[in-house]
């Protein structure tokens, strides 16, 4: 690391007792204000340590160390190009699909190395679902969209109809589509399509749902519905969400990681890095880093 660049994650490391190596996930969490209840010191789902991501020789993200807790909503925020989408795609190995993408450092998932030898990305993705920025329903019926995941996994549920219904109910879409399950998913509105994509992800009972700016293509009403939905889903799933919308992060997430990008001295390539990771109310009310404060108060980005 070039001299003069401050790596905040390391700075934090020094504050925490020896060899924790991570920003502590939860040690002493006071009761949350305003009805959120107490966030329990939860189990770690993802443990990232000194993660660097390259696209070819380009370093997109460097030195990310953080833990993501179970049944929490973790928001990744930051300006464009800060690597937050890159990071989320590492968590279910979608980056494998980009030629030249490479991950260094360790990403542990329930204690197992996600990039370890013999790990099958297909198996990873069967546990860690993903919802994309732009709703991407398959050009099939609503029913077939939801049934697709279970089918490719070879699941034989007692009743596929029931599984489809349950998934659609969980995604708060059932009432709107129950009479037209055989219609093309492409006939739905954008917000409905996105909830369908969530239903589709839920149908395979994943452990984690990754959401890469799930509301950026939606109107405020649809966005509100999805946010409500996330609040409910968090009881059963661990959710990681990338968002450009700081209000959204503040509204829905338990923890927020703020990333930014810095130009490398020589090349000018912009590399993303984690600035600060903390409970969401902390990030938005008492950020410990000036850059975070500038960002969340709207002075930058």
């Amino acid at each position: 690391m070039a001299e003069g660049q401050i790596d905040v994650t390391q700075e934090k490391e020094q504050q925490t007792p020896a060899r924790e190596g991570t920003v502590p996930i939860t040690t002493e969490v006071p009761a949350r204000q305003g009805g959120g209840g107490v966030v329990p010191p939860s189990e770690t789902v993802f443990g990232l340590e000194d993660v660097h991501v390259y696209y070819g020789s380009f370093l997109a993200l460097r030195g990310v160390t953080l833990d993501i807790g179970r049944n929490e909503i973790t928001a990744l925020i930051g300006p464009s190009g800060c690597g937050k989408s890159t990071l989320i795609r590492c968590l279910n190995r979608m980056n494998d699909l980009i030629p030249g993408a490479r991950v260094e450092g360790t990403i542990e998932y329930h204690g197992q190395d996600l990039y370890g030898e013999g790990v099958d990305p297909v198996e990873v993705r069967r546990r860690i679902g993903m919802v994309f920025q732009k709703p991407n329903p398959f050009p099939k019926s609503i029913y077939d969209n939801v049934a697709y995941g279970p089918k490719v996994m070879g699941l034989k549920p007692k009743s596929m109809d029931e599984l489809v219904e349950q998934s659609l109910r969980s995604a708060a879409l059932w009432e709107e589509v129950k009479d037209k399950l055989r219609q093309s998913a492409l006939s739905l509105s954008g917000g409905q399509q996105q909830r369908l994509c969530i239903a589709r992800a839920i149908a395979v009972s994943p452990d984690v749902i990754l959401m890469d700016e799930p509301c950026s293509a939606l109107d405020p009403m649809s966005t509100a519905r999805i946010e409500d939905l996330m609040e409910k889903l968090k009881q059963d799933y661990t959710i990681v969400i990338v968002t450009h919308n700081m209000q959204q992060a503040a509204r829905v997430s338990d923890r927020t990681a703020f990333f930014t990008a810095e130009a490398a001295p020589g090349t000018g390539d912009r590399t993303g890095l984690l600035v600060e990771y903390d409970r969401t109310d902390q990030i938005f009310t008492h950020p410990s880093d000036q850059r975070t404060e500038d960002y969340v108060t709207g002075r930058f980005g």
Partner: protein, 302 residues
Amino acid sequence: MSASTEVFAPGALQRGATRTPAKVALDAAFAVLLFVGTIVGVIALGVLLFTIYDNGWERLMADPGAFLSNYVSRLPARAGIKAGLYGSIYLMLLTALFCFPVGVGAAIYLEEFAPKNRVTDFVEANIANLAGVPSVVYGLLGLGVFVRFFALGPSLLAGSLTLAVMSLPVIIVAARESIRAVPQSVRLGAYALGATRWQAVWTQVLPAAIPGTLTGAILALSRAIGETAPLLVVGLPVVIFNLPNSLDDPVSALPLLIFNWTSRPQASFAEAAAAASIVLLALLLAMNAVAIFLRNRFSIRW
């Protein structure tokens, strides 16, 4: 100078205020030119249809049943197109059977699986080249490879394989275009649900690409069914008095029959050729109609 006052000057919005009459005329002339370009093709088709109709309609309608169900004859009045019509249909079906799976398979490989390297580039460039090879050359290939080397003789199998090889590049190109038109987000969606690469291609990409591929394939086949040269070179007969019972049997084709009849001196054979052309055209137009129907009915609006 103040534009805002000029706008409100009398006549500021009249034609010719800023555009000179010459420019206005040029715009109009250009539109006419484009229209003429469009109409040339339509006129050509109209003239063609009229000529064939004029020459052949009477002959066809004199006794359509006999014309369609008689074999060839020395006597123009008794000559029919049964061998050619059925032969063309058999050839087309077999050609489709051979070239569709191979063409789609090649397209899937090139689009979804092939590594991006020079070998792939080389293959791609040559498929484009193949699409431009004259059909008579495919006839020579068919003669050399299928008729002689594999000793299939001038048979249904040799003829349809030759036409299949000829249609292959066009189908590959059409299938690749359709596969490429499937948004990447669909593939990512499948992968994110734990689909393997094969599952993503087989259950998402291919079904979405099929309508476009079929349209292209039918157009390729309708070109194949009208081809005379390769079948002549392969040596398919015209004078034949039974339909093929197996792949090894000789078979005739409508274009061969038309070609044969037009080269005879009697005027009544020319009429028969025109009548056969009407049937061939009807077949082609029907295939194109199916292609258009498939495109409109099943193509996906993303």
